[in-house]
Subunit: 215 residues, 2 copies
């Protein structure tokens, strides 16, 4: 089984590494980081993190699972035919096509979420409808073979849920235990329903997805 | 403020990237990945993930915060004077010296945890006592400027707790909201107290830290 994780300039590191750390422990899986060009791909925080794309898009033609992370750089990929064509091509034979955060907008732009329930980073959620998807506020959404997760850290939850489907509950529990995923956040501000309202409004106002439709 | 994240061969990716994603959003912070040699450092899963160490140890002499991830490769670093000497040297001027997972064993081997409360991956926890530390089962442990976190994913919780101390609760809540850290694991098996007992025993029996002292 091959798991391909897409990288592109200014991706969000945890979007990619969260599901990687979980799904990469699928028995028998080979995990590859893939990008338009092989080599270091820099992230969204002044490029302070560089992750190696060991394969080009052209070298990964039949992954069983594809994982598309999000990040500010997603905007530039929305009309990059190399990436969108690759997503459409590999989706034809994947067992699971997945995304974290605004990665779902890339799946949407590739035409893969039309009519499907899906999620995204809370700031981008409404934008999914542009691509015919039906946005939901759930943290991890399964619709057929399409699995989308909410913002950044949610890829860990998605990874465990998907690993359970692929390898069984016991394997997923074993990976949860080995990664000691027993979350104890010191605050309870991880969603727009729970965070202080002024922070939510502040980020909506500054969002690249606009706030006009959130009245 | 400079945050230095140590890398070494066969580190665990999420140990490093979890706290990076949170602490890297500290206002005014410069985050650098550092290793004995600059260049790609490969992780513990057949090296399928390569993270760039942009600086050598010699180039990072006065970080304000140091983060030491864990992973199977930690064993080889336990008697690597280049790494241990660097930890001792930078610790002399850090504001915070931190670890995730078995990274605390490296802090211990450097002599930095003597007499201190500390934690580690649950499989390595007892081993901390070898270095004069007092192991605790807590997920994130503050003892003075030393902050240690439990296994792999716990670095996210540590990052938020530390960010709160550094930049205030509101900034930490903002980062929790932006990373949508509202964890909803599909299983409740993330600690040895909660996971199926046979999995706990299986991993203890196979652990490189041994199980003889756990009776």
């Amino acid at each position: 089984m091959q798991i391909a994780i897409l990288l592109y300039d200014r991706f969000t590191a945890l979007d990619a590494v969260g599901p990687y750390e979980i799904l990469g422990r699928t028995p028998g899986a080979e995990t590859v980081f893939v990008a338009e060009r092989a080599g270091l791909v820099r992230n969204d925080n002044q490029g302070s993190l560089g992750l190696a794309a060991d394969r080009t898009l052209g070298e990964v033609t039949r992954p069983d699972i594809v994982v598309v992370p999000g990040g500010p750089g997603q905007t530039e990929q929305m009309d990059n035919p190399a990436v969108l064509d690759w997503l459409r091509a590999v989706d034809a034979t994947t067992t699971w096509t997945t995304s974290v955060c605004t990665g779902s907008l890339l799946l949407g732009a590739a035409g893969l979420l039309d009519g499907r329930r899906a999620t995204s980073h809370w700031l981008a959620l409404d934008h999914l409808a542009t691509f015919g998807a039906r946005p939901t506020g759930e943290r991890v959404v399964f619709d057929g073979k399409y699995v989308t997760a909410a913002g950044v850290s949610s890829g860990i939850d998605m990874g465990l849920a998907l690993l359970g489907r692929i390898a069984g509950d016991e394997r997923a529990q074993a990976v949860q235990l080995l990664t000691e995923y027993d979350p104890q956040p010191p605050y309870d501000a991880g969603s727009p329903d729970k965070a202080p309202a002024h922070l939510v409004e502040q980020f909506r106002a500054a969002s690249r997805f606009g706030s006009a439709d959130r009245t």
